[in-house]
């Protein structure tokens, strides 16, 4: 993996995705809602002829989502052959990571621990490196497993 990170804000916190995992950052247009899907699945959106499954990262982590989304832009990622658009509060910048991602004593907090790959230091300060596969799996499966 390269050392570049895409910086994003989720629920007001500084987070980051590995730049290698992010295909592009796009503006999300019209969204077709999906009935009977989990809360964090917002719907389907088309990116040219590609269909994206749009997820709300705050709800996927298990945070409350009372504030409005501040950004219509989303990070496009591909996991197991399916393409997802991750809606976040804001996408900031791309930054270089300094050193290996590490744990911090005491963890990141209950919800965050599930999706955290660790803490990474960047020029813009420390960020939480998000495990995209865990994020996409959503909070529901944890409840089932527990």
């Amino acid at each position: 993996m390269s050392d570049l990170l895409v910086l994003a804000k989720i629920g007001g916190r500084n987070c980051a995705f590995a730049a290698d995992d992010v295909q592009s950052v796009v503006d999300i247009g019209a969204i077709t809602p999906i009935p009977r899907s989990p809360d964090y699945v917002i719907g389907l959106s088309a990116l040219r002829s590609q269909t994206l499954t749009v997820l709300d990262c705050r709800k996927a982590i298990g945070l409350s989502a009372d504030q409005k989304m501040t950004d219509a832009r989303a990070a496009v990622v591909r996991v197991d052959g399916h393409t997802y658009a991750l809606l976040v509060d804001a996408i900031d910048d791309v930054a270089t990571v300094r050193g290996e991602p590490g744990e911090i004593p005491g963890g990141f907090g209950e919800e965050w621990n599930r999706v955290a790959r660790g803490m990474a230091e960047t020029d813009r300060g420390p960020v939480l490196l998000v495990d995209i596969a865990a994020l996409i799996a959503g909070p529901a499966q944890d409840e089932v497993a527990a």
Partner: protein, 786 residues
């Protein structure tokens, strides 16, 4: 080096597959020089390629095989069964080694056993007749089963997918552009090139779709080997007969049906085909025939696997089904042989008393059926005791392009695969008879109470207050269940390119995929079988039996003739012998031509005589008819309502003077007039005439496309917008120039008759005068046909 090695592995794999069937064909006919050469080329190529890489073990083995085959070629050695078996083992061993090489591991072990078997009583002289195998096989890419080379190149699937999605993007961009052009009004300088772009794009899309297709031959090549190994293991003699290898199928679909096919073949050899002694005793040839045929019919591919073995044991299957609680004794007694046989697909039913290593018990035919249904296919079995068993697999032509219907519920659009749609009824029709029993809704469909779900409720959507939720779509499941689903509106139907959904969306099990609308908006496609299962409405109904009854005709009802009971437009209950009924058709009322001396109607592009309808008879927008056939000629019988299929076991008493009534009889306690098929065909029957050969050119406008085109289609023409191609008839509006390459010209005018001058009314037809336009079209058609 890595690329080179990957190529080597891939090439060897393909050659392996092709050569297996060659070896078996060669064994059957050792004198077949062409086969021998093909096998020899294979081992030679492997040996030659080994020189580039450092695989001494592989080289030694292929060298030994080459030597043995070379002796056979020179006539120094006989191609006996022992040698063929050894060669097959060598091929297997080479396959194993290729796998090891691919995994990047070291080749270890020893092949001296095989090499010794090969060199048995053979001289050790090394003489290699060098042909040009390496260059030939790399150039051709593959050797087909017949040994003929087919020009092809190898491409990564990823690249193919990129081209496909690129073309889809282009189609979307075109639609967007088309939309904008329409808004901007007519612009002749742009419209022409745009039309050309559209037709080119359609061609390219077709070609790209074909790129995904593969000949079913690829699946077939593995079967001769499978059959040979199984039959020799079981001490049976089986000849395999493959047909239709050139039928093309989606590459993904071929992978999907591989396991089901293998399972059925194993079953046939293990259970169906008798040992040679038993076959001789029952007067059959010692060698059994296993025939595998692939056929394309319309939108579906049907593959049949038939053996001439002992057939299925109806009694045994019935008993097993009863003891497993799948059906009750009473139900079983009611079932025809055909129905009993389908029970082999019920979960938990395996008729083999002895579990053998071949058929095993883990995977049953129920799994085969479930897997096929997952991809929209189905499977049926027919069998004659002591004579044969035939499994028929029906699979949709492609997985990715499905004909579908777009419906609306709760303010949102969804797609339904067309294959499930039986009929669409607008809810204000009186004969639907909606009722509520407890919380369940029921509608009456062809005399049968059918459960009715609301799509908005199924999807837990907020019902739209303004929408009526009163369009009822009747859906038929592959296994024969019928249910209805209420939606707010039907939008349109067409070919949908369906893409898979993310697992998180699939979890609710109500969606099967997603597709893009013309405007680029994604919509979800419903998973009909799962929705039916979730609501427990997948029960068999009368309709399924009715359709089965049409298929099975009289032979299944124990010799008693069957009849279809219906109510005619004259309010009389009538019946027609079931063997005459080919299909039940529903056609729009405008498809009926009332202008000629006798009524006619256009069904599926064929013009057929119509009976049972008075010239001035009022009908709804849709008309139901029985399509009757005596084998060669056909006619349509318009009916007001269809009741059921019934046994004609009552006494037939002579009729009441109506020439088209054969007799009166009692069916379920009421008198019914039995239609005289003979008299009917003698007076009205006609050999169906293709109406689709006639083409009609239409003006290029939105009005022509939406208003005129359906009318033209109903009159039996194929509408054409492309000005360049010649057409039989051309319709032009007002003073427009007719296309040069048209037969007859029908001129329409925008001014109504009462305003137009008499010159105008003579030369043209008011464009909203439906009857006159239809009449003109039909006149033109007659002139052309004469």
């Amino acid at each position: 080096m890595d690329d080179l090695l990957a190529d080597f592995i891939e090439e060897t794999r393909e050659l392996l597959e092709a050569s297996e069937s060659e070896v078996i064909a060669w064994e059957a006919n050792p004198g077949d020089r062409a086969r021998l050469d093909a096998i020899f080329r294979f081992v030679h190529t492997v040996k030659g390629n080994c020189g580039f890489f450092d695989f001494p073990r592989l080289e030694k083995l292929s060298h030994a095989a080459e030597d043995a085959l070379s002796d056979v070629r020179k006539g120094l050695r006989e191609a006996d069964a022992a040698l063929v078996t050894t060669i097959l083992k060598v091929i297997d061993r080479i396959a194993e080694m290729v796998t090891v090489i691919e995994a990047g591991e070291e080749l270890s072990g020893d092949d001296s056993d095989l090499i010794a078997a090969l060199s048995e009583n053979s001289g050790d002289d090394i003489a290699v007749t060098v042909e040009t195998p390496a260059s030939e096989s790399t150039a051709s890419g593959e050797i087909t089963a017949s040994g003929a080379a087919q020009r092809s190149i190898r491409l990564p699937v990823e690249l193919l997918d990129r081209v496909m999605s690129g073309v889809s993007d282009m189609v979307l961009a075109r639609n967007d552009l088309g939309h904008r052009l329409r808004e901007a009004g007519n612009q002749p300088t742009i419209d022409g090139p745009f039309e050309r772009l559209t037709s080119i794009l359609t061609d390219v899309r077709d070609a790209v779709t074909r790129m995904r297709m593969q000949r079913i031959e690829h699946l077939f090549t593995a079967f001769p080997r499978l059959v040979r190994d199984l039959s020799s293991e079981l001490g049976k003699q089986v000849m395999i007969d493959l047909e239709g290898g050139d039928v093309e199928l989606d590459r993904e679909m071929i992978e999907m049906i591989r396991d089901p096919m293998i399972h059925i073949i194993r079953n046939a050899i293990d259970h169906g085909i008798e040992p040679p002694a038993e076959r001789l005793k029952s007067g059959k040839r010692e060698i059994a025939i296993l025939a595998i045929t692939a056929r394309q019919s319309g939108n579906r591919i049907s593959i049949s696997v038939s053996d001439d073995g002992r057939g299925l044991n109806q009694q045994k299957i019935g008993q097993k089904a009863v003891s497993h609680g799948i059906v009750t004794e009473a139900q079983l007694a009611e079932m025809s042989r055909k129905e009993v046989l389908q029970l082999v697909f019920a979960p938990g039913l395996s008729t083999a008393d002895q579990v053998s290593s071949i058929s095993g018990r883990g995977v049953g035919l129920d799994v085969v059926q479930a897997n096929l249904e997952k991809v929209g296919g189905s499977i049926r079995v027919t069998s004659e005791p002591g004579k044969n068993t035939e499994f028929t697999l029906q699979i949709p032509l492609t997985l990715s392009i499905i004909a579908g219907l777009t419906v609306e519920a709760g303010g949102q659009r969804f797609a339904i695969p067309q294959t499930y749609v039986e009929e669409i009824v607008h809810g204000d029709t009186a004969d639907l008879d909606k009722t509520q029993v407890g919380d369940a809704s029921l509608v009456t469909f062809r005399g049968e109470r059918t459960p009715c779900l609301s799509l908005a409720q199924v999807l837990q959507l907020e019902p739209d207050d303004h929408a009526a939720n009163d369009v009822i779509v009747f859906l038929k499941l592959p296994r024969g269940g019928l249910f209805a689903i209420a939606v707010d509106a039907i939008h349109n139907h067409g070919d949908l390119v369906v893409k898979p959904l993310a697992p998180v969306v699939m979890r609710s099990e109500v969606f099967a995929g997603s597709t893009l609308l013309d405007n680029g908006q994604p919509i979800l496609m419903l998973d009909i079988p799962n929705i039916a299962a979730q609501h427990g409405v997948a029960k068999d109904t009368g309709l399924a039996q009715l359709h089965d009854a049409i298929e099975s005709r009289t032979d299944e009802s124990g010799g008693i003739p069957m009849a279809m009971v219906f109510e005619g437009f004259d309010q009389r209950r009538r019946a027609v012998r079931l063997e005459l009924v080919r299909r039940i058709e529903t056609v729009p009322a405008i498809a009926v031509d009332r202008s000629g001396p006798s009524l006619k109607a256009v069904v599926d592009g064929e013009i057929l005589p119509l009976f049972g309808l008075e010239r001035e008879q009022e009908t709804g927008e849709q008309l139901r008819m029985l399509r009757l056939s005596d084998g060669s000629s056909e006619l349509l019988y318009a009916v007001a309502a269809i009741e059921d299929a019934a046994k004609l076991d009552g006494e037939l008493t002579s009729a009441d003077g109506d020439p088209f009534v054969e007799a009166m009889t009692l069916i379920n306690g009421a008198t019914v007039a039995l239609v005289d098929g003979h008299a009917l065909f003698a007076s009205f029957g006609a050999i169906p005439r293709r109406a689709t050969s006639m083409t009609c050119h239409l003006p290029d406008s939105e009005w022509a496309r939406t208003i005129l085109a359906p009318l033209v289609k109903a009159a039996g023409y194929v509408p054409k917008h492309d000005i360049a191609t010649p057409s039989d008839v051309a319709i032009v509006l007002d003073q427009a120039e007719p296309p040069s390459a048209a037969g007859e010209i029908i001129r329409l005018r925008s001014v109504p008759d009462d305003i137009a001058t008499s010159e105008e009314t003579d030369a043209s037809i008011y464009r909203y005068d439906r009857e006159a336009v239809l009449r003109a079209l039909r006149e033109a058609g007659k002139g052309e046909a004469a």
